[in-house]
């Protein structure tokens, strides 16, 4: 038995040692020109050409000698191959070589950059280097993973987490990638806020940018303009509050009313989630702008002068309320359904009226849902970029200000960093406030004991206004979407309203030639890039999210709380902030991925990972631990248990994570707009470009197409992953006729 386990572990060890050697001796060490998928280097001077050479060849030619120490770290583990896992030397050697090798790799990456030494003190100490290095490539990446996993195997061999190599490696891996792709860029951005124009650090610079009238000004009380920070904060609170109320109305109508067309309502709530941002803004302009159809109609009816009231706070507010109410609804529906009917029945048995029951039992039990819905609305509004861009008028908000600080003629990265810090401060405070408000009270009502029963209907005094609000919202949404479809088939909005399909033709025309299909439409490039990137990012996001969820629910280890906070942090970071920090962090070696498709994939993974984590945690906590235990008792290791027992039972969570990350990858704009490049243009940034060019027809036609593509993709994913019924219970549906 012991013999067998030690042998399997050694197989893993041998695998990673070989990987490290391949990375060092065979693959190009530095990033090759032309991206990750170009294999030009194979035929172009490899392995001796300096640009494509593996590390070993570089050292042999007397170049980049600072890479040589890595060889020691890769050789040392060979010494302990014959030793048993329980031998203290085994663990010690692996930890030593892994830690030193990994540490050295990072140190040299940051120490030596594109202009020789990166730090003055290094140059003062060692003198001018006279050499430089570019971003890490395949070789360095594989070598780094190899060293990292040597380290985790050493730690496991010392007995951490019962010597479980898979769990220790998974923890190490997640910590490393979260550090690299979340903490490192954010830290880099925080530093950028202190940089003066000549590259020195200074606190004064930070304060002069922080205490800026454009940020904190209160001019709006005296007829001028308020600062962007106040605007954002005020708008976000308003949007968070209103979307929560609207979402609650919807949830109540769906679960606690006799309303007949609940399904239609539910279907409507999906729409805004798969709609590219700012499309709603465009539709609002077509309806309520100075020359919008509604505006003109009302103006003629009442003989009023049309105004530009839409541009600014009112417009952004309406667009965001439309777009984010469904999110609040989706959060609340689970909670509203989850309140156990037996509690409410108990209240009613004790002679509480319907209204009393609702106010003193049902509503307080919904508090976690309300807090979550508000938080989501708040953060989404803070981070929203598309709607303020289209409808902002003179109402500056942080997200657009950040963008124009970077791209504007003033080009002030420091200011962007300061603004991003303020934005981050707001969202994190909201996050914290939510936790405090919920406190440590128990909201558990689903106990596992049978709680058959039906939710009582809402009190009449409540149900009428709730139904009116929900229906009003639904009608409004339908009008807005009808407008979007109509807008994509008219010649020139407002001037020539004849119907045409020319926008679709311009965007998506194809020509059949002898060599095959030629994609001549203007939108194809960005369309294929978007689909590809979304398709690559979605499974990776789900994988990272689920592994993290597994570690959080099933394993106990020191620093677990900090680990959870780290993985959830990227959820509270607005996309604009991610975009800015990625540009600052990844445009220079050692990790140099701006302008590639990789940076887009990476940004999507870490933007959307928290949803995968949450979905995974939710479904994993429903799976009894006894399942894992029996698997482990029968001799499977934790990887096998994860792969064979947990994963198959997680299909709903996998589906949720896949759908969410795919859809978000196709509709995200705030981070993307900073990260797109000539080769990798995304649909949303292309559409923004068309909007800026007054080409509303094309922009709306493209957006409409995206909506249908996403609907199709979501359906396809459902079929691929499959719907499974887990357990013997069927989901209690409230739609059953009562």
């Amino acid at each position: 038995m012991t013999d067998r386990t030690s042998k399997t572990t050694h197989q893993v060890l041998i695998f990673w040692i070989i990987a490290g050697w391949v990375g060092f001796f065979l693959l190009p060490w530095y990033m090759v020109d032309g991206g990750l998928w170009s294999f030009e280097w194979l035929f172009d001077g490899y392995p001796f050409d300096e640009d494509y050479a593996p590390a070993a060849f570089l050292i042999a030619q007397g170049e980049k000698l600072w890479l040589a120490p890595l060889l020691i770290a890769l050789t040392l583990p060979l010494l302990v191959l014959k030793r048993a896992k329980s031998d203290p030397l085994y663990a010690r050697v692996l930890i030593l070589s892994g830690a030193l090798g990994f540490g050295w790799l990072i140190a040299q990456g940051f120490g030596i950059g594109i202009r020789g030494f990166n730090f003055n003190w290094l140059e003062a100490y060692f003198g001018e280097l006279g050499d430089r290095q570019f971003g890490m490539g395949y070789g360095a990446m594989i070598c780094a993973s190899s060293l990292l996993f040597l380290l985790t195997q050493g730690i496991a061999a010392r007995g951490a987490i019962n010597g479980d190599v898979f769990v220790v490696s998974a923890i190490g891996g997640v910590i490393t990638i979260v550090t690299v792709f979340v903490f490192f860029p954010i830290a880099k951005m925080l530093f950028a806020a202190f940089v003066t124009e000549d590259g020195a650090y200074s606190i004064a610079v930070f304060f002069s940018k922080f205490f800026d009238a454009r940020l904190w000004g209160l001019g709006c009380f005296f007829g001028a303009r308020c600062g962007a920070a106040w605007n954002s904060l005020f708008l976000a609170i308003l949007v968070g509050f209103v979307t929560t109320v609207l979402g609650l109305c919807f949830a109540l109508v769906v679960t606690r009313s006799g309303f007949r067309y609940k399904r239609v309502l539910r279907a409507l709530t999906v729409l805004p989630i798969i709609t590219p941002p700012f499309v709603i803004g465009l539709a609002l302009i077509l309806l309520f702008g100075l020359s919008g159809s509604v505006t003109r109609f009302v103006a003629e009816l009442f003989g009023m002068q049309p105004t530009r009231w839409l541009y600014g706070m009112p417009g952004i507010f309406i667009a965001q309320a439309l777009a984010f109410t469904p999110i609040a609804f989706l959060v609340l529906i689970g909670v509203v359904e989850g309140v156990s009917p037996s509690m409410e029945e108990a209240a009613q048995t004790l002679r509480a009226s319907r209204w009393q029951t609702f106010r003193t039992v049902s509503l307080p039990l919904m508090r976690p849902g309300l807090a979550n819905a508000f938080l989501l609305g708040f953060i989404e509004s803070m981070a929203d970029f598309g709607n303020p861009l289209v409808l902002g008028g003179n109402f500056d908000v942080l997200s657009t200000e950040i963008f124009f600080a970077i791209v504007g003629a003033q080009y002030d990265q420091g200011r962007a960093a300061v603004l991003a810090m303020v934005l981050l401060f707001f969202t994190l405070s909201a996050f914290y406030a939510q936790r405090v408000w919920l406190g440590k009270k128990s909201y558990t009502t689903v106990t596992g004991k049978g709680d058959a029963g039906v939710h009582p209907l809402m009190p009449t005094g409540l149900s009428v206004p709730v139904l009116v609000i929900a229906l009003g919202w639904a009608v409004f949404t339908i009008i807005v979407y009808a407008m979007i479809i109509y807008g994509s088939v008219v010649e020139l909005w407002g001037v020539n309203n004849s119907l045409t399909l020319k926008h679709y033709v311009t965007a998506f025309s194809v020509r059949f030639e002898e060599e095959g299909i030629r994609w001549t439409g203007a939108a194809w490039d960005s369309f294929w890039t978007t689909i590809t990137i979304a398709a690559i990012a979605a499974p990776l996001t789900a994988a990272v999210g689920l592994v993290t969820a597994y570690l959080l629910t099933r394993q106990n280890f020191a620093g677990k709380n900090a680990f959870e906070f780290g993985t959830m942090l990227s959820f509270a970071i607005p996309g604009t902030v991610i975009g800015v920090s990625y540009i600052l962090a990844f445009n220079v070696p050692p990790i140099e991925i701006t302008g590639t498709g990789v940076i887009l994939v990476v940004s999507f993974i870490f933007r959307n990972m928290p949803v995968g984590v949450r979905a995974g945690i939710a479904s994993m906590s429903q799976l009894d631990r006894s399942l894992d235990e029996s698997s482990l008792t029968l001799g499977a290791n934790s990887w096998q248990t994860f792969r064979r027992i947990i994963l198959p039972l997680l299909r709903p969570a996998i589906l949720a994570a896949l759908v969410y990350s795919f859809v978000r990858a196709m509709t995200a704009i705030s981070a993307v707009i900073f990260l797109v490049s000539a080769e990798y243009d995304m649909a949303t940034s292309y559409i923004i470009g068309r909007v800026e060019n007054n080409d509303y027809g094309l922009a709306i036609a493209y957006s409409t197409t995206l909506i249908f593509v996403m609907l199709a993709a979501v359906g396809l994913l459902q079929i691929l992953v499959g719907r499974v019924q887990i357990g013997r219970r069927t989901q209690s549906t409230t739609e059953t006729p009562s």
Binding site: D33, A224, S291, R308, Q410, V495, N587, G689, R690, L720
Partner: protein
């Protein structure tokens, strides 16, 4: 799960194959003109030379920011189009490369003087005069008089009807600011901007947005380059173009090769080709009504006739320099933008 993996792997292989199949010469083009013009230039150059072109379109301010951000490790090769100031600024900061094209003697004087003021790190490819346009329908609906001069825009009846871009984010708006300073002198120029401020309904982020909003009927008067206004009129929007009576400033759309370009040879080929009459005639196909810099290139009948417009002697060297720019923008930020409207 297996199916997903296999599809994912399949798509990866497909991408790898498609990328490695096309390993011809290539060029990364940063384009700051309008989208369709950029597309047409890129595709036509591909057809003419067989060099693959990767094109991104961003406004001149955004492109300048990007080139500066990438300066330690340039990703782009050529920057084509967009107002000349950021090109001059890039030249001043050494972000672009000195190059003497063999096509130079075919160009108008203004294109060459643009090159000379930047140490031959940039060159003029087209020019356009500043002005404004108004939506004739909206003007009539509001019973407003037809404006003809810059000073007309200060009249109180236009309150809430004028739109211009924010000079901080738009090259067009900075040209407006610099032109007013040159037409009226600095003090009176800023008085003009202050008066204008109280009539402005929105400072847009992008330069041509005001006239586009006017075209759609979301705004009445937009201060823009005249060729942008002409384009809206030609597209069918009820826009009238005005060349202000006091005279006006102008821009020289420029082109530069990025210092440290990875495909320098291809960049030079593009540079020479873009100065040829054939390349410059492409503008007419996409309703770009700027005046081309090659003397033998065709001009459109709809283009504003440069000889009829009173052009000021715009000092590109002075007003294109970073210091002057920063000073004027800061002054505008402090003295104009904070005023109540």
């Amino acid at each position: 799960m297996k199916k997903i993996t296999s599809t994912a792997v399949g798509s990866l292989i497909a991408i790898a194959a498609s990328v490695s199949a096309a390993q011809a010469d290539k060029l990364t083009l940063y384009c700051s003109a309008q989208e369709d013009w950029c597309q047409l230039m890129a595709r036509s150059f591909e057809d003419a030379t067989g060099i693959d072109v990767n094109m991104t379109r961003k406004s001149s301010g955004e492109t300048f920011a990007q080139i500066r951000a990438e300066s330690s490790n340039p990703k782009g090769d050529v920057w084509w189009g967009g107002t000349g100031d950021p090109h001059l600024q890039a030249a001043e900061e050494g972000l672009t490369m000195e190059y003497m094209s063999p096509m130079r003697d075919q160009l108008h004087d203004w294109a060459i003087s643009q090159a000379e003021s930047a140490g031959n790190r940039t060159i003029g490819i087209y020019s356009g005069a500043l002005g404004y346009g108004y939506n004739a329908d909206l003007l009539a609906a509001n019973n407003l008089p037809e404006p003809a001069c810059w000073k007309d825009l200060l009249k109180p009846e236009y309150k809430g009807h004028v739109q211009m871009a924010n000079p901080n984010s738009s090259g067009t708006a900075y040209t407006t600011l610099a032109s007013m300073v040159q037409i009226f002198g600095e003090d009176e120029g800023f008085e003009f901007m202050k008066g204008l401020h109280s009539n402005i309904n929105q400072y847009t982020k992008s330069g041509s947005a005001p006239i586009k909003a006017a075209g759609r009927g979301e705004n009445t008067i937009g201060i823009v380059f005249m060729h942008d206004a002409v384009k809206q009129a030609v597209s069918g929007f009820p826009i009238k173009v005005v060349a202000p009576c006091e005279g006006t400033g102008y821009e020289i759309g420029s082109m530069s090769i990025i210092e440290g370009a990875r495909n320098e040879e291809e960049a030079k080929k593009f540079y020479d080709w873009a100065l040829s009459p054939e390349a410059q005639n492409l503008a007419l196909q996409v309703n770009a009504f700027q005046v081309p810099s090659n003397k033998s290139a065709e001009t459109s009948d709809s283009a504003p006739d440069m000889s009829q417009i009173k052009l000021i002697d715009y000092d590109f060297k002075k007003y294109g320099s970073s210091d002057e720019r920063k000073r004027l923008l800061q002054k505008w930020d402090e003295e104009v933008s904070t005023l109540p409207q």
